[in-house]
Amino acid sequence: NAGVTQTPKFRILKIGQSMTLQCTQDMNHNYMYWYRQDPGMGLKLIYYSVGAGITDKGEVPNGYNVSRSTTEDFPLRLELAAPSQTSVYFCASSYRRRDVNYGYTFGSGTRLTVV
């Protein structure tokens, strides 16, 4: 049982480049999330999805886009990379039914550096 898988684990981008961070889960969780963690800080929510075809903004969505075409996959797109997007990115998933959240599973993170 792989849980939540993120790729790549590390990436260096030049300013203005674009890339997609991949996230897939095999637990049939309906909710998925993207967080970023800046040095010395807790995680902040970028985007989340409550099911295939449905996404919504979190606390820090600017500069990012997401899609959720399947239950399993929730890619995060950076269109024009900026140094301020240097961070560690975490994908997470959870199963929620009737307002009860049965717990979160996190991926191992992607360390992104924009130079």
């Binding site: 909710y31 999330y33 967080y35 010395g40 800080m41 807790g42 995680l43 902040k44 929510l45 989340y48 409550v50 919504d56 903004k57 979190g58 606390e59 560690v88 975490f90 997470a92 959870s94 929620r96 307002d99 959240n101 717990g103 979160y104 996190f106 191992s108 993170g109 360390r111």
Partner: protein, 117 residues
């Protein structure tokens, strides 16, 4: 908006001793969940313990227990018989219980726990 505050950037404890990590939060909700997550150098986020706000009884998981004071909006983590493997960043997190809007967790800035052998 909800906020989570961890006032101790770093804590140090001798192996086998007990340590308490502090967390306070601010919310106008009555239904919510609180969590403690451990993040070792591997970066993996590991759930330590979870507390539902409607439960008066404090959650316990082996050597880990919480002191949940709902009126004071306080949620501290006690680690008993500290072990070298407990060394990590510890994050307190909040999640609203019901309703629409963002379903994600709100995290504090974390406490770096050092275990002295």
């Amino acid at each position: 908006a909800q906020t989570v505050t961890q006032s101790q950037p770093e804590m140090s404890v001798q192996e086998a001793e007990t340590v308490t990590l502090s967390c306070t939060y601010d919310t106008s909700e009555s239904d919510y969940y609180l969590f403690w997550y451990k993040q070792p150098p591997s970066r993996q986020m590991i759930l330590v313990i979870r507390q539902e706000a409607y439960k008066q009884q404090n959650a316990t998981e082996n050597r880990f227990s919480v002191n949940f004071q709902k009126a004071a909006k306080s949620f501290s983590l006690k680690i008993s018989d500290s072990q070298l493997g407990d060394a990590a960043m510890y994050f307190c997190a909040y999640k609203r219980g019901t309703g629409g809007g963002a379903d994600g967790l709100t995290f504090g800035k974390g406490t770096h726990l050092i275990i002295q052998p």
